[in-house]
């Protein structure tokens, strides 16, 4: 199968979805410019032009409502935010209107807005440009939230989102855009709520989302060198969450490490731990470990930033810990991110 970058896969999924459904349009600040949101909107701009790839004023608050209104009347807006931190401005219409529309108005129709947000990563993006908001959105019934880790899923989950009747939040970590892997040519819809076993293992389960799946794979590889067999579960969507897959894996391995780019408190990692505790408590042979950023905003200074961002090294250490192994293991940093230089 041919390979695509994560960013190209999003671009292809967008174009194919727009070809299939003339009501879909892309909108966001600078979606039409030469950078094309890391190249993800460039193909659509080239194919459809500004009538369906619309630059918009700086109006996140109103535009979230505008998109809901358009969706409620039959259009399919694909709204893009260059940083998901700006989606706090869109919160009211997303949470109070889009998420509740179908239920609150008697299940007569929905407002299937799809909203993409880019999660900043590295190079001192700092406190207000590198937060992962999936758990925030994941809290509210009525929304679907997807966090693709692979190029194929970045395309497939977007295709699914643009076909469904429920509003969907798609969060993409900037650190993944250059990841290249096999992607089906056709627009294959990846089902929401279906996780993926990235790597099979028997000793410990690592549940991860988005960028942390990559880190979990790297950790698992390093652990294999130590004779530890780690199973990596990519949740792919956090709402709906594939509880069955997570529980099956933990039932098999008896140990759980959860990795997330967002904080532990009230987050995805807390939810996964709760699901396991509720369903397969007896299978657990060790306390659950969460590997997440520490409880402070994201710092800029690079030694602090590196200490802040959870990585394969921290995951491998956590896995050894739940296995009661006191071995030392150091996992090198991911070249893909570490070799990144500015200006950005």
């Amino acid at each position: 199968m041919r390979t695509l970058k994560y960013s190209e896969a999003i671009g292809e999924g967008t174009v194919q979805s727009m070809e299939a459904d003339p009501t879909i349009f892309v909108a966001g600040q600078s979606v039409d410019d030469h950078k094309g949101i890391y190249g993800t909107t460039t193909a659509a701009m080239k194919r459809f032009g500004p009538s369906r790839v619309r630059d918009i004023p700086n109006c996140e608050t109103a535009f979230a409502g505008i998109a809901v209104g358009a969706a409620s009347q039959g259009l399919r807006p694909l709204v893009v935010h260059t940083r998901d931190d700006f989606m706090f401005l869109a919160m009211d219409a997303v949470i109070n209107v889009a998420a509740k529309w179908r239920y609150m108005y008697g299940n007569k129709g929905g407002a299937p807005v799809v909203m993409r947000g880019v999660v900043g990563h590295g190079w001192g993006q700092g406190a207000t440009h590198s937060q992962s908001l999936h758990s925030v959105f994941g809290h509210f019934p009525g929304l679907h939230v997807v966090v693709p880790a692979s190029p194929a899923d970045a395309k497939g989950l977007l295709v699914t989102a643009l076909r469904g009747d429920t509003p969907v939040i798609v969060l993409e970590n900037r650190g993944l855009y250059d990841v290249e892997d096999e992607v089906p040519q056709e627009p294959v819809a990846v089902p929401l709520g279906r996780g993926r076993i990235v790597r099979e293992g028997t000793d410990v389960t690592i549940v991860a989302a988005s960028l942390m799946v990559r880190e979990a794979e790297r950790a698992a590889q390093a652990l294999a060198g130590q004779g530890v067999s780690a199973e990596v579960v990519d949740v792919r969507s956090i709402r709906p969450l594939d509880e069955a897959l997570i529980c099956e894996s933990v039932a098999k391995t008896g140990r759980l490490v959860v990795a997330d780019t967002s904080w532990a408190r009230y987050g995805l990692s807390a939810e996964v731990a709760a699901v396991v505790a509720e369903n397969v408590f007896d299978a657990l042979r060790a306390p659950v470990r969460r590997v997440t950023p520490p409880d402070c905003p994201a710092p800029v200074s690079w030694p602090l930033e590196e200490a802040f961002n959870p990585d394969a090294d921290a995951l491998a250490r956590a896995a050894l810990e739940v296995l009661g192994l006191s071995r030392r293991l150091e996992v090198a940093r991911d070249e893909l991110h570490h070799n990144f230089i500015g200006p950005y």
Binding site: Q29, S30, D32, D33, H34, K35, D55, I56, P57, N58, C59, E60, T61, A62, T82, D85, F86, F88, L89, W123, G124, Q125, G126, A127, T128, H129, P294, D295, C296, P297, P299, V300, S301, W302, P303, L304, E305, A307, F308, I341, G342, P343, Y344
Partner: protein
Amino acid sequence: MTDDPEELLRAMVRIRNVEETLADVYRDEQEMRTPVHFSIGQEASAVGVCAALRRSDLVYGGHRCHAQYLAKGGDLDAMVAELYGRETGCTRGRGGSVHLIDVEAGFGAASAILGEMISVATGAAWALATAGRDDVVATFFGDGAAEEGVFHESLNFAQLHRLPVIYVCENNGYSLASPLAARQPEGTRITDWAARYGMPSVSADGNDVTAVRSAAAEAVAWCRAGRGPYFLELETYRWREHVGPHWDYDVDHRSKAEVDSWIARCPIVRATDALRPALPDIDRRRARWDTEDREELATAIKAAKASPFPAVDTLLDGAYGALGV
């Protein structure tokens, strides 16, 4: 606080020298690991407005905040150290280029989410007025932020309560690569938006530091007298790319001819030419200033590099304040 044209020019030259050198160093070294938004070309608005303010007045900025920080008297060493992510930086390496602060100099804060500081500055003005101080607040933002809801909500509130805040819109015509024509209806004047809220709303040439200084002085007098908020639109132009040290003409959204037409309106050249009749040796002075600035910045860079990074075991420090009980 000054209205001396030579001092105004001197302040602009310093900011230009600092930013142009920082841009080169940023590009060549790759050691300032934080996104940086340069104000090169926009110095007159920051300098002209801050020249009408006193040290106890407050200034707030957005992501493009270096010029405002320096114009208000923000500490250069602390800014440079911040870009290098050092413990001696103005936020101790936590906030980076877009979150500058210098409490002593009256640079209240800057932030990277569009329009955020418009409301924060309004609240600061509210606090000053409540305390009975006659200090005023100036908040800088761009034409893009004026489109945000928070701009309109803040102006309404400030006018309602007659708060001493000057809204300074540096209209540089672009939001990232998106031009005004793609974002605001034809014929829109941001000054009209502000005027509708009932406050004085004035437009001045943002590349003419003397004109900016005069307009700002009127705004300050109005606010200091307790007459309420004031809106100032300063038309200017950003020479470099939105974020980063490079030129971006002919990439696609703007031509070299357009950028050149604005370079021809350089606020520094203009102020220099205006001074030449009175100061025939102005070019010699400029050469001396350039040397001084290069030395000052070289010292700041050297000091920053010699400073420690924050210790990793202080990562959590400052996430919370003291408990109330």
